[in-house]
Amino acid sequence: MKPIRHTQSLLSVRSIMVLAAFVAIWASPAFALDGQVRIHDPSTIMLCDGKWYTYGTGGTPLVSDDGWTWRTGTRASRSGAAPDVIRVGDRYYQYISHGAMIWSKSLDPNSPDYGWQDGGNVFGSEGPDDFINPIDPGAFLDPTDGKLWVTYGSYVGYTRVVELDPKTGKRVDSKFTNVAVNCEATTMIYHDGWYYLLATHGSCCRGADSGYNIRVGRSKKVTGPFIDNMGIDMMEGGGKLVCGSGGRLIGAGHFGLIDLGNGVQKFSLHWEADLDRGGASVLDVLPVLWKDGWPIAGDNFKEGAYEIESVRTGTALELAVEGVPVGGPRSRGGRGAGLGGAAPNERGGGEGRGGAPGAASGGQGGGESGRRGGGFGGGMFGGTSRGPIPPQDVAQVSTNWPIGNIDIRMSNYMCQAQQKWTVTPVANGGGYLGSPYFKITIAGTDRTLAVGEDGELVALPAFTGGDEQLWRIDQLTDGTWRVTPKFASAAKELLALSAIGSSFATLAKFDPASDKQRWLFKTP
């Protein structure tokens, strides 16, 4: 066992490093999150009276009106390392490393219910030789029985769970259970009959050299044992990866579940180093996906060009205009034409099926190349001798599209211009938890997906910035996407893009149990 003072000294070094990292001011890139997002060890993001709140090491408070753009908030009455916040009844309990607890009935300093009360010390080392550094608390309210728990620990020593009184936030007795070893930033969640222990492996506080990564094990009991996907106990170092470094973001830590309901779960975390912000430690929010009974980090929506495909029907969203085949119209080849015959825009030999690709001989009416067989000289299956067919030029095919509004429908995806959409974040358009609002336009044009006055979908000739043209795109826990217009995203009855029938899309009340409102964004 290592002496506790060893880890405490490490902690103080870490805190100094973290605080130092906050000194610099960096321009905000488009992702991840916007505004002032520099923080280390954020508490689980909490919603209170319409605003989002989190507190980090050193008391760093951040607040956001929409979950996308953040600013510095108001410090709580006490601060320390790596706090966590949970709402139980009408109280928000804040637990701070080494066991301090404070509580308030509001997180909004302007609320008459705001005011942090001292709740005393509720956990810590159990003795001088206790193999634990009691930091990084994570609070958990068991949805099955209403019991309140807190886990804590560090990368040297045990991770421990103790029970708390939901009414007071204080510890109920002296019992404790060790559930993992050498982890930081633990917390628990419950899903489909299992308790999941989320933990952060690796080390922090070294910028882009920090190996923090979020791991998970699961148990049928809140007290463990927590076993990973390979059968390894988290008391022996187990843990399945939930979220690691990627892109321009290094060192994921401090999982905090944000269950938005209706099939949408997200989690707050920090990155040890955002390379686009000079390597600063920053707040982020990512979707939670569930795969084979395990949580994994999803993705916030990324701008790009997409086919938008309905899970219900397999058909793709498109403008209701005449489609033109890629490469131009083409008739079927002649009967038995094999692989010889017409190129695009060249008439074939009349209706009839040609021979199979590579067939040795064609039937009557086949061309010479078809009868020879084996060559791809054209014909019904042979393509054109002109080489690769370029992508459809929207400027060319859109000349016959109506100038004004165009209806929206769905159809088999055929790689055509009216089926390819560009999804772009809108500057100053606001946002939602984890993302900005997007506009959705036909690729290469300004024709914009919007909600018409009749409540149906329509493509406007141009984007003008109205709320009916801004879209919230949330990843659901199965990895598909929910698409919601901004004006309806906060409505009492959540409206989402919905497939109705095979060939029509509309807005309808979101039903998390149905495929009607699940969409795939595929690279065209």
Partner: protein
Amino acid sequence: MITLDNIRTSALVILAGSAILPAAAASGDASRNLWLHLMRPATAETTPNPNGFIPRWIILEPIPANGDTQNAVQQTVKTEHFPNELTVIPRDGDKVTVNGGELTWHAVDTNEYNVNLYYFASAFGKSASNALFWAVTIVNCPQEMSGVRLAIGSNSASVWWVNGREVIGIYGDRQTVIDDGVSKRVTLKKGPNVIRGAIVNRSGAADFCARFLDKEDRPLKGFTVRVADAEK
């Protein structure tokens, strides 16, 4: 020809009790299949089937037509082949002249979810390929029904009107899939509402199905269906 206001509520005197369409008396497999799939209405009015599909239609023998793309179909249905093509409320046995040939409207009931146009055409010695079929029915609502949608499927392309307003078009070579095309929200007024479809088939099988969906996308019922009476 009659107008919507003249639709009578009496029984389909001439049609009632008939077991098979007149021309289908011709021998051959097609007539037997027609008997299996379609029958002449035996009552004055009927109701949607348990899944809401409209079982009664009056259908014109096919008109030759080419092309199932959006532009081609729109051009076909907007071309007047006979007078008042988009407004007529035909009666069983009415005849029209198209390109010098005489075509007849036939009232049919189906026990299936769909109406099989392939056998309909065959029964009258016509081809269902490269053909335009007109189908009309009248939905009688006991009260106004707002926010409903016409949901159709067709093989192949089709365009649909509710009370004279075009509400759906689906195009290209496609199977009849239930609720393939769904209209925007429409209001069915109290009393008779005219539903009109134009099905354009390129080759092979041809059929269609149609029903209304309520605000929750459930099959709409609670109305009756009839076609205009035959002229006495």
